[in-house]
Amino acid sequence: MKENRIKDFSMFLITAVLCGLMLMTPAAGFGAGKTIVIGGSLPLTGAYAETGQWIEKGMRFWADEINTKGGLLGRPVEFKIYDDQSDVGKAVTFAEKVITVDKADLLFGGYPGTAARAVMPVAEKHKYVYVSMGGHMKSFLQGYTYSFGAPPLMGEWWYEGFFQWLATVPAEKRPQKAAVYTINNPVGLSLIDSIDRWTKKLNIKIVINEKYNAPLADATALIVKAKQSQCDILFANGFFPDGVTMMKAAKALDYNPKAIVQGIGSVVPAWVKELGKDGDYVFSGTVLSGQLKYPGNDKLNAYVKKTYNLNEYPLYFGFGYAWMQTLEQAVTGAKTLEQTKIRDWLKKNEVNTIAGSLTFDERGLPAPINFGTQLINGKVELISPKNIQTREPVYPKPAWEK
């Protein structure tokens, strides 16, 4: 018994010492010299890995570009990217690590919205500028002064473009009854906002308005209900997996409303690649597009064509790049790495990104940006507003291809 206890205790000590050693290990030699370190965490494994990896690619493309141009403030930039394993708690810890241990010069934005919501207060407390997509409108109403959505992924704005176009459709041709299915999480809930406002304005009756929790194993009942109620517009406010399940069920049950509007599942490249023709004619929104005439978009498109064989850069690739563009211009403009000065510069000046020129208000948000989109023949076409329209939308939706 005695012997055991000694062993117990020595084990305990060993663990404690090991733990201490790990902690004291200096975080590899960087931050030294003239490199500008930009740190943060992304979900590179786990549930949000796909998106996290696209953001990383976009950021790295920016870094290569700026380093060949001679760097930021004349100094080369380097990333310190941690994998938060799609865990919000880890995202917070890594943000603190980047700020306090790695002493990174700049912080980059994370994903998903819940992680951004938790990291925004960290940035605020440490007085670090945090340029990200944010966590929808609620997160920008918390009074943070260092957070910027540049551009943000704002669920509340997501369908603006689509509805603006729909308003131009003669009233008798508009859908009359809407089925709204929403995933029960911050993204889904913020998407409802614009639907509520616009359906009232356009006199569309919401016949079905239901939420569901992920995972959505089967969408048969949802589609049958929508079909029976003769809803001629379907809002599928969700992600990729539930979006796919719903589309497949809609086709199989031959439910063909005048328009299908999908949340943020249809913006990932996999939608077109995996669903092919069945994914066509879906309406959605975006804040970024390779087809916009803003400077830089052609360059990005050429890069993804060459590297990933995609016709247009994916939304999250663009996000990663645009956030970095914002930071770059803020740092160059403020001519310093002092966070407060960078923030003040951003509050007063305009930045030019691949999402256009942005100026930020008190909340750290630009004026609402949104473009209506529709997938036509496997290509994301911009349908609204009129001045950037790449193609007349296909409406009403043609019958399913058998």
């Binding site: 005695k2 117990d8 404690a16 790990m22 708690g89 241990v101 997160s139």
Partner: protein, 312 residues
């Protein structure tokens, strides 16, 4: 030797408590905070899972209940940030109360069936929080942060979590040596035999279950405060439930030291790997750790060293 043991432990605790005095960066405080948190979770799981042999796969439920109850209390009562931390104690009480209600029918079920009932329970709580606005809602909740320098507030959180860990471990230590603990161990080895020996099995089990829900509840409250914004996905995740079980069993369930070793090693290794290796590779190494340890120490790390100790 027996006297030296508690003294050494006391010194270790004092050293840990004094750690913020040497002025470490905030990250180290936060990281240690999470290590303490997992030690608390694994050790309190061990009350019912390790000693009693009832493997609860839904312990994140209590952690999450504590987190949401704290946030809810704070917003409903308009508590100032400092008091919010205290609100995690009644929040722990709420978690314990839920455990009492749920434990009563569930603890009649044995073996894997108990594990799955608790797993279902964790989902039910998670979904209830998401669906019912009053309990938290799918948007999540924000907490106000303290109006003091970040380092001070993180130091306070560090010390409070350390205190909670010490209390949890003291209970765990006591449990291992008390009649209560002996009764639980008897239940683990053979519940029928334990009953014939006039051990009040039902009472012991429910007591252990309630106790094992209380500490995660309080820890959840502190974690909510640490995050500043909580969402059901962050605290009710099935991954947390599984991680708690693995930490305890990895070190060696049914001993008070096992869960500590498991929690410390797994947390440190996971954090270390994400610092030094590429994302997927880091995860693969992490996975390999479980395999290697199980093959060489199939009965847990504690057992392995005990046996080694016995031989020499």
């Amino acid at each position: 030797m027996n006297k030296a043991y508690p003294v050494a432990l006391a010194i270790l605790v004092i050293l840990l408590a004094a750690f913020p005095c040497i002025g470490p960066e905030v990250y180290y405080l936060s990281f240690m905070f999470s290590v303490f948190m997992y030690v608390i979770l694994a050790s309190s799981w061990n009350f019912i899972g390790g000693y009693g042999g009832y493997l609860s796969f839904g312990h994140a439920a209590f952690f999450g209940i504590g987190a949401f109850a704290t946030a809810k209390l704070a917003t409903m009562l308009q508590l100032p940030p400092m008091l919010t931390m205290l609100a995690s104690i009644p929040a722990g009480g709420i978690a314990a109360l839920v455990a009492l209600i749920v434990g009563y029918p569930c603890l009649k079920i044995r073996g894997p069936y108990f594990s799955v009932v608790t797993l279902c329970f964790a989902f039910v709580v998670d979904l209830a929080v998401k669906n019912i606005e009053f309990l938290g809602g799918a948007e999540g909740l924000w907490l106000k942060f303290m109006d003091i320098p970040e380092k001070t507030s993180r130091t306070i959180m560090y010390e409070v979590m350390l205190l909670l860990m010490v209390v949890t471990l003291a209970v765990s230590w006591f449990l291992g040596r008390s009649r209560f603990g002996t009764g639980l161990t008897a239940i683990r080895s053979d519940e029928e035999v334990a009953e014939t020996m006039a051990i009040p099995t039902a009472k012991l089990k429910i007591q252990a279950f309630v106790l094992s829900a209380f500490f995660p509840g309080v820890a959840g409250g502190l974690f909510a405060y640490y995050l500043g914004y909580i969402h059901a996905d962050a605290v009710f995740s099935i991954n947390i439930s599984i991680l708690i079980v693995l930490m305890a069993m990895f070190g060696g369930g049914g001993t008070w030291l096992g869960p500590i070793i498991g929690a410390v090693i797994l947390t440190v290794v996971n954090e270390g790997l994400s610092t030094f290796a590429q994302a997927e590779i880091a995860r693969i190494i992490y996975g390999a750790l479980f395999i290697v340890v199980t093959i060489f120490m199939p009965n847990g790390i504690m057992d392995f060293f005990r046996k080694k100790g016995g031989k020499t």
